[in-house]
Assembly symmetry: C2
């Protein structure tokens, strides 16, 4: 108790400032100490001193238990042209300098480089010296083959809003580090969506000090607003009562309602991993276009998505971040899609540790490592259950890959075309990696691979964040010239005129196109041409919902009708073969979910199950109870559960 | 669905008014239709027509499904003096007219009469004619032997606030009968106190339309505010968001925080049964005195208790009352204390029925009938569990009564005195009835019975509401001159000087005095005198909490120290005998709780357990699950449970 009191005292704003001032030597030339969101920024006129003596800052972090960043004072920052020249001179030519992006809110310059590995352990490249020279902290990034227009948009927006963001980050910091009022911790979880159901994931973590909204999805399949959106109305809170919004990953069922909150005036911070920001922006903007194409009024406009960019604070995996006076957040790899994270909330001074898996893949894929599980502490685990029933067992990766190779090879050898209807984000990149891998290894017949839709843009975002990819893939990208995303087999179809090539007769090829359930998008144009040919094949790699064209085709319909471009109904004969492959899923199957819980078992006091149809939640909860002897429940939407 | 739509339409404000206007004949001379809280008031210049043709109103109630009251137009009301003269002339002399109380907010006159049975089926007493004559609706009440000063205070306050209340009742009505916004019903229960614990009972029933606070108690034993009071802070609502407060019974652990809500600006209606209002006022005012005596700052002042009187709408048992656009409330006898009620909430158009037992006695006592259980429908039951463990079995009434008789007789025959430390409300009246019954029957040695403290005031309130007493007792009071409350054995000690009589040497007698655990109050003065005498006896009939003087004495201490009047510590030798009797409890024992659930079993979908220590809740829930195969849970404080 006494220890805790001391910890508390040493974390008050005044004592933090005093500790910093006492610990920083004069040579550091620190001229200002300020909040920058969840971090404390030390502004200096001589950044190289603290960069070279980085022990000073890490010692300080250990004492004050807060993140510290070293920033350059604005007065020493060279103008962007001069700074870029200095960079160009300092880099070895072979590294190949790409774009540079200056963020005036933080004084950081992101430098894109084609061969970043040439800068590592290179005595001629001294980033401290370079920072001192130009007054901007340098951050080296891998230059991508394809430029992601989403990331460019974000950078442009951040530049426009930099002075606004500086102020906002300071306010957020003041709010996070305000004094705690309550002596005791108390923790409740309010369920707003995605409990006993898939879709509209959302919940609020509350303590007497703070309220954190976790995920903010939509349920696209729902008929009424009370079933489609998170039940913020039931939670009876106003948006300015929220301390923060935390987003686990980019999919619409976790982020689709977030722009609406910004539209209606949410002004606080949004936390997610670095790639989640462009990924969710891409998906949120696409949802506007899809709504328009289907004649529905979109829920929000482009400006609301832009607003999200300005309020988002990105955090890498594994970084402990204060997001409220009594809550620390750590993201860890969830293995589901790029940037997907499990969220670990450390509440009070260790009073309670709550882990929310979000969508999780506890199994390795080519793109991602298996989800992390090594949390120092976790008393309450909230786990998804998309495949939570005992019978939800997927084939092994080896099995599904060899089935895929066979299916593709048979068709290509026969001179046919392979069409893979696919969601743009995640699964498409995984299939591309599989194809590249096996073609290069000589196990798959070589043939051109065409991509369509948002796939190429999503791929560009993957390439921009190699730190978030599986270890082997990351090493390939960051340390060699062999970049699988830049495979010579791949061709992106930028415009519908270019479709002639993949559709040319007697040219075996593989085509990946959206949408994944033949519900719309470019895939239909290919389907119209490919389905009648009995040498061709359609490979489904994702779930086909009842009522979709994909499902009808998969179920064996020999004739289906489409709405043609001219508005007339067109009958398509389906003579091609088809196959459905499970096992490329970004979700854990039943065994993987149980293994994940098993790993955490020694620490757990309680498991909650969400994000699955009711009977999946029920089944997983029951099996966890029986096998691991730990209390497990599956709340519904509109419940509050006392965690501590 | 269509039927429901129709029902909904016919209940909108406009159609209600239209229906009334069409159904009321001209002869009724209705000149105004207005809301009066949850009722619709028809103001007439000729009240006798609707009173004599009461079929018209009951037909109308069946159509509009709302309560209707007939009120006299203000212009026809005679002044109070003239009206009283008319009453005096109309009543038979032998009925003995007592006080009259005119409520200008409702145009009702309460007439106290010593022998009300003389007016029943008396052709000479025509209340419709009398109402027509004086312009006030007449309500006959039994005149009590002792005047309850609490009830007089309430009447005085209602008179002072009558014009304010008229306006307020209209506003409440408009709020209750506002149009429903949501199509579907959704029901959640938020637990604010009294779950997994005894004390600070409180919860909020929420639907998309409305929020009802049920009970608002304190936990007097708790150390910190976060454990002592309902967690309205956690529920995150403001007081003006509440549609209503519903109070089940008067005890402090269900009402002790209510004055604080009024203090901080709650302006809405408070619903309880008729006797619960004076009972809770008495108890709430006493709590101020107790706090002052113990040197603590009271939570609220007398004016806050007065404010409660003005906002309370009393409802008799069995009357269906709209309290929100989508919620109807019915109180039924809970058998626990005077006016104690189980609360039945009928939500939506029958979408869900929720019954909260409050403190419940499912077993007959002399004062009260056994709790009602015959609800037309109940899907969710919330039941208390004070004695919820399997081993919590009380002796039968017969056993405890004969033990009591023996204990008293032995001492009285021996020439000793019997001291019964007792809580003022409920248990004291029960013991008085037992004594009167057995003394009259010749089974108990006749001796004077002295009462002290608030007991006499509480007894007066019991006498004022004979409708709420057990059938036999009620009949005695309402239909005969044999009124057990007016027993010749009883003497109330109004002032401490009068204690000489009960304390006189060698005078066998029985003394009932507060408090029940020897923690303070007049009982200590008697204890000091009676404990040293080895012929005397102390009978404990209520639970003695650990650490109280009562518990120490019961555990066999032969010497105890008291703080004397002069502030000096005084040592008291305990030579008298003592006995503890269970079975007079106002709570159901384990078997009675199970029997109650058994009665409801065919209707139930789910049982929730509260108001018991955690292991009592757990035990009762488990036994209900096992024996009745119905889901049963025991939530904690600060949870929300989706009921529908």
């Amino acid at each position: 108790m006494q220890k805790r009191q001391q910890e508390k005292d040493s974390s008050t704003a005044q004592s933090v400032m005093a500790t910093i001032l006492q610990s920083i030597p004069k040579e550091a030339q620190v001229s200002k100490i300020d909040y920058e969101g969840p971090r404390i920024a030390l502004y200096t006129r001589s950044p190289s001193f603290l960069m070279e003596n980085n022990q000073i800052v890490s010692d300080l972090v250990n004492v004050i238990k807060k993140r510290i960043v070293v920033r350059t004072e604005e007065s020493i920052r060279k103008n962007e042209d001069d700074a870029r020249k200095i960079i160009a001179e300092a880099l070895p030519k072979e590294a190949e300098l790409g774009g540079t992006y200056f963020d005036t809110a933080t004084g950081e310059v992101s430098v894109e480089v084609k061969r970043p590995w040439l800068l590592q352990n290179n005595p001629e490249f001294n980033s401290a010296k370079l920072t001192e020279q130009m007054g901007w902290r340098i951050r080296i990034r891998k230059a991508t083959i394809i430029q992601s227009s989403t990331i460019q948009q974000i950078n442009y927006n951040l530049k426009l809003s930099s002075s606004e963001r500086s102020k906002q980050l300071k306010q957020i910091g003041e709010s996070i580090f305000r004094p705690r009022l309550a002596q005791r911790s108390e923790v409740s979880l309010m369920t707003l969506g995605g409990f006993g159901q898939v879709g509209r994931s959302s919940m609020i973590l509350t303590t007497p000090e703070s309220k954190i909204l976790i995920d903010c999805g939509v349920n696209p399949g729902a008929r009424s607003p009370s079933e489609a959106f998170p039940r913020l109305d039931w939670a009876n809170i106003t948006l300015d009562e929220l301390d923060a919004i935390v987003i686990g990953h980019a999919h619409l069922d976790h982020t689709g309602f977030l722009p609406v909150l910004c539209k209606y005036g949410y002004k606080g911070p949004i936390y997610c991993t670095e790639p989640t920001l462009p990924m969710m922006n891409l998906i949120q903007l696409d949802a506007i276009r899809v709504a328009a194409a289907q004649g529905r009024a979109p829920l929000y406009a482009e400006r609301d998505v832009k607003q999200i960019m300005r309020q988002t604070i990105t955090i890498p995996y594994g970084t402990v971040t204060d997001i409220a006076p009594d809550i620390k957040l750590v993201f860890s790899n969830a293995g589901h899609i790029l940037g997907s994270a499990t969220c670990h909330f450390h509440i009070g001074n260790g009073d309670h540790n709550f882990v929310y898996t979000g969508d999780i893949k506890f199994g390795k894929s080519i793109l991602f490592d298996s989800a992390s599980w090594n949390y120092p502490r976790v008393e309450t685990l909230l786990i998804e259950s998309t495949y939570g029933a005992r019978e939800d067992i997927q084939p092994t990766r080896q099995e599904v890959e060899s089935a895929f190779i066979n299916a593709v090879n048979n068709t290509l050898v026969d001179g046919g075309k392979v069409l893979i209807p696919i969601p743009a984000v995640g699964r498409a990149q995984e299939i591309l990696m599989v194809i590249d891998h096996y073609m290069k290894a000589g196990q798959m017949v070589e043939a051109p691979v065409f991509t369509e839709g948002m796939i190429s843009e999503a791929t560009a975002i993957h390439e921009a964040y190699p730190e978030y990819l599986a270890r082997e893939l990351r090493q390939k990208i960051l340390e060699t010239d062999d970049n699988p995303f830049d495979s010579e087999y791949f061709t992106n179809i930028e415009h519908s005129d270019a479709r002639e090539e993949p559709l040319r007769d007697n040219t075996p090829c593989i085509i990946l196109a959206t949408s994944g359930m033949l519900e719309g998008g470019p895939v239909l144009e290919y389907f119209r041409n490919i389905a009648p040919g009995n040498k061709n094949k359609i490979i489904f790699v994702s779930y086909q919902v009842n009522g979709t064209l994909g499902r009808r085709v998969l179920d064996g319909s020999k004739q289906v009708s489409l709405l043609g471009k001219d508005g007339k109904v067109e009958v398509v004969n389906v003579n091609c073969s088809m196959i459905k492959l499970d096992g490329f899923s970004g979700h854990s199957d039943f065994n993987q979910l149980m293994s994940f819980v098993h790993k955490l078992r020694p620490k757990l006091r309680r498991v909650l199950v969400n994000h699955g149809e009711r009977r999946k939640c029920e089944s997983l909860a029951m099996n966890i109870r029986r096998q691991f002897r730990v209390p497990a429940h599956y709340p519904q939407v509109q419940e509050a559960i006392r965690l501590f």
